[in-house]
C-alpha cells in the first residue's frame, strides 16, 4: 500500500507536466528469448546484443511515452521443450512483448502459448514460413522467409543459365525448406534439376555424395543448410575435382566456412540479407555498438534491434500497451528502421525483404554479384 502510494505521488509529481495517466508509469517489460548456451549460442549473442542496445537507446531517449523498457532475458537453448517452459516463465514475469525466439522449431511451440495468452511476439531470426501461416494475430517477424530466400537464390541461378543443377539439403527445417523452394522455382522455370537429396546433419563423409554429383555431371549445386557440412562438401568436392559452382543460403555465409573449406570456398555464391551495418544511414548506430564493445555485423543484431524498435513505435502509435492494439498498429503503419522500411501484411510477415547474392572468397571476404 505504501509502495503504491509513493509510486502515485512520484507519478503525479513527474508527469504532471506531460499529462499522463498516473497508473501507466510502470515499466514495460520486453522479453528476450533465445539461446544463451548450446550449439547455436553464437547466434543468440547477436540477438541479445541487438535487443539490449535498442532498449538502452530507447530508455536514454526517455522511454516509450515516458515509460521505461525493461528487458527480461531467458535462455531456451534452441530446444523446443525448453522454449515452452521459457514461454510459460515469460507469462509469470508479466511480459506482454517478446523478442524471439531464434530457432524456428523453438519459435513455433512458444508462439502457440504467446498467442493464447495475448503476448505480442516478434522473431528476429526464425525464417520458417509455417510460423506465420496459422492465422495468428500477435506473431510478427523482422526477417525474411525461407520462401523469399529460396526464389531469390533460384532466380539468380536461372539467370546463369545452368544446364544441370543438383539441390542438396541437410534434412533440417531450415535447410530442407529453402532447398524445396529453390527446386520448385527452378523447375517452374524449366531448369533441369537432376538431383534433390538430403544428407545427415553432423555427418563428415561426403565422398559418396561428391561421386554422385560427378556422375550426374552437374554444373551448379544448391545446398540448403549450414556451413559445417557445406564446408566439408566443398573441400571433398575440390579434392575429387568436381567442376561445379556451389550456392547456399545465409546459414553458410560466415567465415567459419573458410577455416573448413580453405581455397575451395572461393567462388561460392551466397544469398544474404543486405549487410545492414554497412548502410550509410546506420553508421551512427554502428558506432554506438562499437563504443559498447559489441559487434553489429551479425545477421540478427539489427533485426533484433528493429524488433524492439517496432514494439516501441507500435505502442506509441496505438497509444496503449495492449498487445492486440499494438498488433493492429503494426499492421497498419509503415516504419523506418535500420533494416529499411517495414510494412506488415496480414500474416505478420514483412511485405518485402531483400536478399542479395554475394560471391564468397577464399579470404573470407564477399563481393556482391551484379545481376
Amino acid at each position: 500500500m505504501i509502495r503504491n502510494f509513493t509510486k502515485l505521488a512520484l507519478a503525479t509529481g513527474i508527469s504532471a507536466a506531460i499529462v499522463l495517466p498516473a497508473s501507466v508509469l510502470a515499466e514495460i517489460k520486453i522479453g528476450i528469448a533465445g539461446p544463451v548456451t548450446g550449439p547455436v549460442a553464437q547466434y543468440g549473442d547477436m540477438q541479445f546484443s541487438g535487443a539490449r542496445m535498442a532498449i538502452k537507446q530507447i530508455n536514454a531517449d526517455g522511454g516509450v511515452d515516458g515509460e521505461m523498457l525493461e528487458a527480461v532475458e531467458m535462455d531456451d537453448v534452441c530446444d523446443p521443450k525448453q522454449a515452452v517452459s521459457v514461454a510459460n516463465n515469460m507469462i509469470n514475469e508479466g511480459v506482454s512483448f517478446v523478442v524471439g525466439h531464434l530457432c524456428s522449431s523453438s519459435t513455433q511451440p512458444a508462439s502457440d502459448i504467446y498467442e493464447d495468452e495475448g503476448i505480442l511476439m516478434i522473431t528476429p531470426a526464425s525464417t520458417s514460413p509455417a510460423i506465420t501461416e496459422r492465422g495468428y494475430e500477435l506473431v510478427f517477424r523482422t526477417i525474411g522467409l525461407d520462401s523469399m530466400q529460396g526464389p531469390a537464390a533460384a532466380n539468380h541461378l536461372i539467370s546463369l543459365d545452368p544446364k544441370r543443377v543438383a539441390v542438396v539439403h541437410d534434412k533440417q527445417q531450415y535447410g530442407e525448406g529453402i532447398a524445396t523452394e529453390v527446386r520448385d522455382t527452378l523447375e517452374e522455370a524449366g531448369v533441369n534439376v537432376v538431383m534433390f537429396e538430403g544428407i545427415t546433419a553432423g555427418a563428415k563423409d561426403f565422398s559418396s555424395l561428391v561421386t554422385k554429383l560427378r556422375q550426374a555431371d552437374v554444373d551448379y549445386v544448391y545446398y540448403g543448410g549450414y556451413h559445417p557440412e557445406l564446408g566439408l562438401i566443398l573441400r571433398q568436392a575440390q579434392q575429387a575435382e568436381l567442376d561445379a559452382t556451389f550456392m547456399g543460403p545465409e546459414g553458410v555465409g560466415n567465415k567459419d566456412i573458410n577455416t573448413i573449406a580453405g581455397d575451395a570456398a572461393e567462388g561460392l555464391l551466397v544469398t544474404l540479407p543486405p549487410s545492414f551495418d554497412e548502410k550509410e544511414e546506420n553508421q551512427e548506430l554502428v558506432q554506438a555498438f562499437e563504443e559498447a564493445g559489441e559487434d553489429p555485423s551479425g545477421p540478427f543484431v539489427l533485426t533484433s534491434y528493429t524488433a524492439v524498435q517496432l514494439i516501441a513505435e507500435g505502442i506509441e502509435q496505438a497509444g496503449s500497451t495492449d498487445p492486440f492494439e499494438v498488433a493492429d498498429a503494426l499492421r497498419e503503419g509503415s516504419f523506418e528502421t535500420p533494416i529499411g522500411t517495414v510494412r506488415y501484411d496480414d500474416k505478420g510477415d514483412m511485405e518485402s525483404f531483400e536478399f542479395v547474392v554475394y560471391e564468397w572468397h577464399a579470404d573470407g571476404s564477399k563481393t556482391p554479384v551484379n545481376q
Binding site: Q42, K171, I199, A203, K204, S208, R235, E241, I260
Partner: protein, 307 residues
C-alpha cells in the same frame, strides 16, 4: 564402362570409411572380448585423438615446421600418447571400480563418461567445427577424358594401408607376444588367468591403451580425410564403429575388420545408388538382419549357455 567405374569409385569410398570404422571398432571389440562391457566412451577417445593431432599440427605450423612426414609423425605420437592416457584413465576411474557388478552398471558408467568427455572438450575447445588441414593431397584418376573418371587420392590409400598394417600387427601381437597370450587367457577366463599369475588388471589396462592408440590413429587419418573436427563427431563415429564390431561378432578382431568394411561399403552404396538420407537406416537394418540370422555376429563365437 562408366557404370563400372562409378561402382568402383563408390566401392573405394566405402572401403576407406570402412577401414577407419574397423580401426575404431577394434577398441570396442577388444574391451568387450576381455571384460564383456561396451566401452561407450571409446568414440570420445577417438575424438580426443583427432583434437590432439589438430592441436599438434597447428602448433607446429605456428613454429614454422612444415615438412609433412615430420609433422605427421609428431602429430601421430602426440595423439597416441594423449588418447592412450585418456583410455587408461577412463578405465581406472570409471570402469575398474564397477567391474564385476551387474552388467548395466559399467554400461551406465560408460555412457556417463561419454557425456562427460564430450562436454569436457566442448567446454575447452568450443562447439564449432574446426577445419583440419589436408596434409596429404593429390591422387590419381582412371578413365577417359570425357566420361566419368575414377579418382583415388593418396589419403585414401594411406588410410587403407595404415589400417591393414595396424590390423596385421595387432593380430600378430595378440597371437605371438607374451602380453597377447595373456590377453587371450584373460578373455577366456579372468579368474583362472588371475590364478595362473597373470596380472589381469594390467592386461585390462593394456587393452584399453591399445584400443585408444588405434582410435587416435583413426582420429588423425579421418581428420585429414574429412576435413573438420567437432566435439560431437566422436559419438557418431563411435556408434558406427560399435555397430561394425557387433556386426562382425564382438570380441573378434578379424570380425571388427570385416564388420567395418561391410558397413562402410553398405553406406557408400546406399548413398551412391539410393539416397544419403537413408544411409543410417540401411546400416542399422543390416545389423538387425544379420543378428537375426547369426545372433552373435558374423565371426562371433556362438555363446554357450552354461548351467
Amino acid at each position: 564402362m562408366q557404370d563400372l567405374l562409378y561402382f568402383c569409385q563408390q566401392l573405394i569410398n566405402g572401403l576407406t570409411i570402412g577401414s577407419t570404422y574397423a580401426l575404431i571398432a577394434i577398441g570396442y571389440t577388444m574391451v568387450y572380448g576381455i571384460i564383456g562391457m561396451i566401452n561407450f566412451a571409446h568414440g570420445e577417445i577417438y575424438m580426443i585423438g583427432a583434437y590432439t593431432a589438430l592441436i599438434a599440427i597447428t602448433g607446429l605450423a605456428t613454429l614454422g615446421i612444415a615438412w609433412v612426414p615430420l609433422v605427421l609423425l609428431i602429430a601421430l605420437i602426440c595423439a597416441v600418447i594423449v588418447s592412450s592416457s585418456t583410455g587408461w584413465a577412463v578405465e581406472r576411474v570409471a570402469y575398474r571400480p564397477v567391474r564385476g557388478r551387474h552388467r548395466l552398471i559399467p554400461l551406465i558408467s560408460a555412457i556417463g563418461m561419454s557425456i562427460f568427455l564430450q562436454n569436457y572438450v566442448h567446454l575447452a575447445q568450443g562447439s564449432r567445427n574446426i577445419g583440419f588441414p589436408a596434409l596429404i593431397e593429390g591422387g590419381f584418376r582412371f578413365g577417359g577424358e570425357d566420361s566419368f573418371q575414377m579418382s583415388v587420392s593418396w589419403i585414401q590409400i594411406t588410410i587403407f594401408v595404415t589400417t591393414f598394417v595396424c590390423m596385421t600387427a595387432l593380430s600378430l601381437f595378440i597371437s605371438r607376444s607374451r602380453i597377447g597370450r595373456a590377453c587371450r587367457a584373460v578373455s577366456q577366463d579372468l579368474g583362472m588367468a588371475n590364478l595362473l599369475g597373470i596380472d589381469t588388471n594390467r592386461i585390462i589396462s593394456a587393452t584399453f591403451v591399445i584400443g585408444a592408440a588405434l582410435a587416435a590413429v583413426a582420429g588423425l587419418l579421418l581428420g585429414m580425410y574429412y576435413g573438420s573436427v567437432d566435439p560431437l563427431f566422436g559419438f557418431i563415429a563411435g556408434l558406427k564403429a560399435f555397430t561394425a564390431a557387433v556386426l562382425g561378432g564382438i570380441g573378434s578382431i578379424p570380425g571388427a575388420m570385416l564388420g567395418g568394411l561391410i558397413l562402410g561399403i553398405a553406406e557408400a552404396m546406399t548413398s551412391g545408388y539410393l539416397s544419403g538420407e537413408y544411409k543410417d537406416v540401411i546400416s542399422f537394418s543390416l545389423l538387425i538382419l544379420i543378428l537375426l540370422f547369426k545372433p552373435t555376429g558374423l565371426l562371433g563365437k556362438p555363446e554357450v549357455e552354461k548351467i
